[in-house]
């Protein structure tokens, strides 16, 4: 496009064309600059590509959940190509012999088609179902890790709340998916939910009629759940997962205590290339494990259950595992129901089915704020707690897990009865007591264990680690020689923060002063923090002689790390 004017030939405006042409000779830089011109990617990549992630297996539990979700999206799309979310009745004429001519909904018939007539359909269906079980399981394991290490503390409370929301939605999503094939198990599950909804005082019948478009089962529920399952909940899940991950990136990852690990840094491997290979590879590992499970382990053989028929049922009708604890609560609940005037109040369903879920949800949402109120701890936390160093929280977590497990076991009380040859009624009575007693026992055992472990840490710090060498001293006594521990270990063992027990600020009359600490809060604070062992002083600690720390600093400088993580620098340079 030469300009027709003569002056343009000497114009500097034509000059930049030359370098632009030379760069485009290299296809990679060419593409990059094309993209960066339009999207400004380099700015983002510069800050993000070398972002550091710490290495620990427990940090990958959330990734298992994330990758299971990706697998669910991929396989879910495949399944939608064949699945018909319709409750219209047809006579089955597909290739599964034992249901030939049986009337069933199109939803169930298309599930059979996916299993028997679409090649690889059964595999994908099983991958989808295993991935769903794994998704919720991994999310739960991840949540427990976050709880026990205190990773929910400031500044990550919001991300904890997002996580709680994700967990709840994952259960809804799973239940909706469980209900779609319209086989005997899904229908029985829906029947249960119908009873659950009905039992809600005041509005139950209204909700039932609105959700099912009239009486159970009707024709509306499968198409409606299909929309919820493939559009509504996945969209919300995707949004929340994006927010969850963005906050992880913004906050930077937490890390366990250790030499060089401080509240002001994060030590690990850069995203590019190490973590791309590790995390990317781990996606394939999760996907591969699920696929192999689907190849070798049968899940939900719907053809055995047959189409839903409200007059049929099977022994061992259970929901998927993550709903099992609610099922168990419903099973062991005493049969309380009030008949007031011409109304019926079904506490036997409402308490375990609706209220218990609310209790779990509320305690999960409230915990970070409750703990912050008890400890009055307003500082940032990037170094994780070792669970033993917060005995009360750890004990509460184990107690909650125990309670959950007891409810879950109650959900399989019939299977326990048949497999261990005990009376079903006895199992039920036992569980009614166990859901209350077992958490209390677990709480005390855990708390004592944590304190003993703290004591063991103290022993190690003050006397070193047992060397296995038995020494006989001149007086004839045998003792085990203790080797002093390394400075690194001693540092890791003493890195936790010691929070003071709050004292009640009371006036002469015993009433709390102004905005001070009430007696109850002080009591809670003592309960939460009071059992901790005090850290030893530097003199009491027995560590091995080693090379000067300066030697390490030199080593660090030679690496390409941008800054030194030592205390001196963090404290003084700024």
């Amino acid at each position: 496009m030469a300009s027709p004017t003569g002056t343009a030939e000497t114009s500097p405006a034509t000059e930049p064309r030359t370098p632009e042409q030379t760069t485009s000779k290299n296809p990679v830089t060419g593409t990059l600059s094309w993209a960066d011109d339009r999207l400004g990617l380099a700015k983002v990549a510069r800050g993000g590509l070398r972002k550091v992630f710490p290495d620990h297996w427990s940090f990958l539990l959330g990734e298992i959940a994330l990758y299971s979700f990706v697998v669910l999206l991929i396989t879910g799309v495949f399944l939608t190509l064949w699945f018909k979310p319709s409750m219209a009745e047809i006579d089955y004429q597909g290739s599964y012999q034992l249901l030939r001519g049986v009337p069933m909904s199109e939803a169930f018939a298309s599930t059979l088609d996916i299993s028997f007539d679409v090649r690889g359909g059964l595999l994908v269906r099983q991958i989808h179902h295993w991935a769903a079980l794994l998704f919720v399981a991994a999310a739960m394991a991840h949540m427990l890790r976050v709880f026990f290490t205190g990773a929910f503390r400031k500044p990550r409370e919001v991300n904890w709340l997002i996580g709680v929301g994700l967990f709840m939605l994952a259960m809804v999503e799973g239940f909706a998916g469980y209900s779609l094939p319209d086989d005997l198990l899904s229908g029985t599950g829906l029947r249960f939910v119908d009873g659950l909804i009905r039992a809600i005082p005041l509005v139950g019948t209204w909700l039932e009629f609105f959700i099912f478009n009239g009486e159970f089962p009707g024709t509306a529920i499968v198409p409606r759940l299909y929309m919820v399952h493939i559009l509504l909940v996945p969209a919300i899940l995707l949004g929340l997962i994006a927010a969850h991950l963005s906050l992880v990136v913004y906050h930077k990852h937490t890390q366990y205590p250790g030499p060089g690990r401080t509240e002001r840094n994060v030590v690990g491997y850069p995203l590019f290339p190490v973590y791309m290979a590790k995390a990317g590879g781990f996606f394939f590992v999760v996907f591969g494990v699920i696929t192999l499970m689907a190849a070798f382990m049968q899940i939900n053989p719907v053809w055995k259950y047959g189409p839903y028929n409200p007059s049929q049922v099977t022994a061992g009708s259970q929901p998927d595992w993550y709903m099992g604890w609610l099922e168990g609560a419903v099973r062991i609940m005493p049969n309380w129901e009030s008949h007031i005037g011409h109304t019926t109040w079904s506490w036997n369903i409402f308490f375990p089915g609706v209220l218990l879920m609310g209790v779990l949800m509320t305690s999960l949402v409230a915990w970070p704020f409750v703990e912050r109120w008890i400890t009055a701890d307003n500082s940032y936390h990037h170094i994780l707690d070792r669970p033993r160093n917060v005995p009360t929280r750890t004990a509460l977590g184990v107690a909650a897990m125990t309670g959950y497990a007891m409810f879950w076991l109650s959900g399989g009380n019939d299977i326990i009865a048949t497999h261990f040859h005990v009376s079903l009624n006895a199992v039920t009575y036992f569980m009614r007591a166990a859901v209350f007693a077992a958490p209390v026992i677990a709480y005390h055992i855990t708390k004592r264990t944590c304190i003993s472990l703290q004591r063991a840490d103290l022993q190690r710090l003050e006397h070193g680690s047992p060397s296995g060498e038995i020494v006989r001293d001149p007086s004839g006594r045998f003792t085990e020689a203790h080797a002093p521990i390394s400075r690194d270990e001693a540092y890791s063992l003493t890195q936790q923060r010691e929070l003071p027990v709050l004292e009640a600020t009371t006036g002469d009359d015993g009433a709390p002063v102004g905005n001070g600490i009430s007696k109850r809060r002080a009591r809670l604070s003592r309960w939460f923090l009071g059992a901790n062992m005090a850290k030893p002083t530097a003199d009491e600690i027995h560590i091995e002689k080693e090379a000067e720390p300066s030697h390490r600093a030199a080593e660090l400088d030679s690496s390409e790390s941008a800054s030194q993580p030592s205390v001196e620098k963090a404290g003084s340079a700024h």
Binding site: F210, G281, S559
Partner: protein, 360 residues
């Protein structure tokens, strides 16, 4: 890495000292090389392993395609205790292994070949600087001032109520999700079944009518009303969910029959709703010696020898009994519909007339 400057503004009140303990931070552990770095033989071996793992993937992918087309859909294979679909095993095995190998190879590469010196990121200040906060406050006040909301307060109120009012149509537009369960509609739906006077009791599945003389003591029949057969599709499912019954015959001397229900049975043949009063599972686990009926879903247990009262489990109400008699041909027929609504409780249910233990 890019935010070191920000850490100048760290709010020291909220950051505790990096090492509050008695031991000063010794700094990162010194870096020690891996065998794959120092020993060329190990390095080569790791390299070979990674390439082999990646190299197996295309082979497995081709095998997957071959299996996809070569294996008949209904072929089964047997390896010891595993007797399964050949297609599922072959496709899943090849695909799963291939995917897994990509993952394992990548992680192996990252662990053994990539540079594994740990690096350190300084954390940046999460909160905004005081200047930023101040500036935002200033911007907010300016904007609020420019909006004139301070002087024209009604605009804000009007906007608020306008947005609030929009929620109303949004909610109301969901009203057609289902019919309103008015007392009239309830009476026609969940409080009624298709049982009526003279309707024969027929076998479920086969729809063969049941003769009283064919019933033996200890016998259980899963039954339906004869008029269910005429219904189709969803309508049949809805009615089936309420009208399913079980017929049992017990030795009349071994059971309690209250006076009010003397003529609800025929010589020890009694009929009960099959729908559990707890959450509505069909319930037919009947022990013929104890006369107990167990729900497989939540283990509520009812005593059919005592008008269906609850003896165990979470169900609160007795199982509704269907009054039956025999017609002139000797077939069992219903005398009426159930006298109380069947199935799980709901708020508007008048449960004062259900049978309670000790009633007569």
């Amino acid at each position: 890495m890019s935010d070191e400057a920000d850490s100048d503004k760290m709010n020291d009140a909220q950051i505790v000292p990096s090492s509050p303990g008695p031991i000063p931070d010794p700094g990162l552990e010194p870096y020690v090389e891996r065998y794959s770095d120092t020993d060329p033989e190990v390095g080569r071996r790791v390299y070979r392993q990674i390439v082999t793992m990646y190299g197996l993937v295309p082979i497995l992918a081709v095998a997957f395609v071959v299996f996809y087309f070569a294996i008949p859909r209904d072929a089964a294979v047997r390896f010891g205790p595993l007797h399964t679909s050949a297609m599922n095993l072959a496709l899943g095995g090849t695909a799963g292994l291939a995917i897994l190998l990509i993952g394992l190879a990548s992680i192996h590469w990252a662990k053994q070949v990539m540079d594994d010196r740990e690096s350190v990121d300084e954390r940046h200040e999460l909160a905004s600087s005081p200047e930023d906060r101040k500036a935002v406050g200033q911007i907010w006040r300016t904007g609020a001032e420019e909006s004139r909301l301070g002087r024209r307060k009604m605009i804000g109120l009007a906007l608020g109520s306008a947005l609030g009012a929009l929620a109303l149509p949004a909610l109301v537009s969901l009203a057609d999700l289902g019919p309103k369960p008015t007392s009239k509609l309830r009476a026609e739906t969940i409080e009624r079944t298709i049982w009526a006077e003279g309707v024969r009791l027929v076998n479920d599945v086969t729809f063969a009518p049941v003769k009283a003389s064919d019933m033996e003591i200890g016998e259980l029949v899963n039954a339906q009303p004869e008029n269910l057969e005429k219904l189709e599709g969803a309508e049949r499912q809805v009615e089936r969910a309420k009208s399913s019954i079980i017929i049992v015959r017990m030795d009349p001397d071994s059971i309690k029959i209250p006076d009010s229900r003397k003529d609800w049975q025929v010589g020890g043949i009694l009929s009960y709703s099959k729908i559990c009063t707890h959450v509505g599972c069909p319930i037919s686990l009947w022990e013929q010696q104890t006369h107990h009926l167990l729900c497989p879903c939540h283990q509520s247990t009812f005593d059919l020898g005592d008008s269906g009262v609850v003896v165990f489990g979470p169900a609160a109400r007795a199982l509704p009994q269907l009054p039956i008699t025999v017609n002139s041909e000797g077939y069992l027929v219903a005398r009426s519909d159930f006298t109380v609504p069947v199935g799980p409780s709901y708020f508007e249910r008048d449960s004062r007339h259900d049978f309670k233990k000790g009633d007569n």
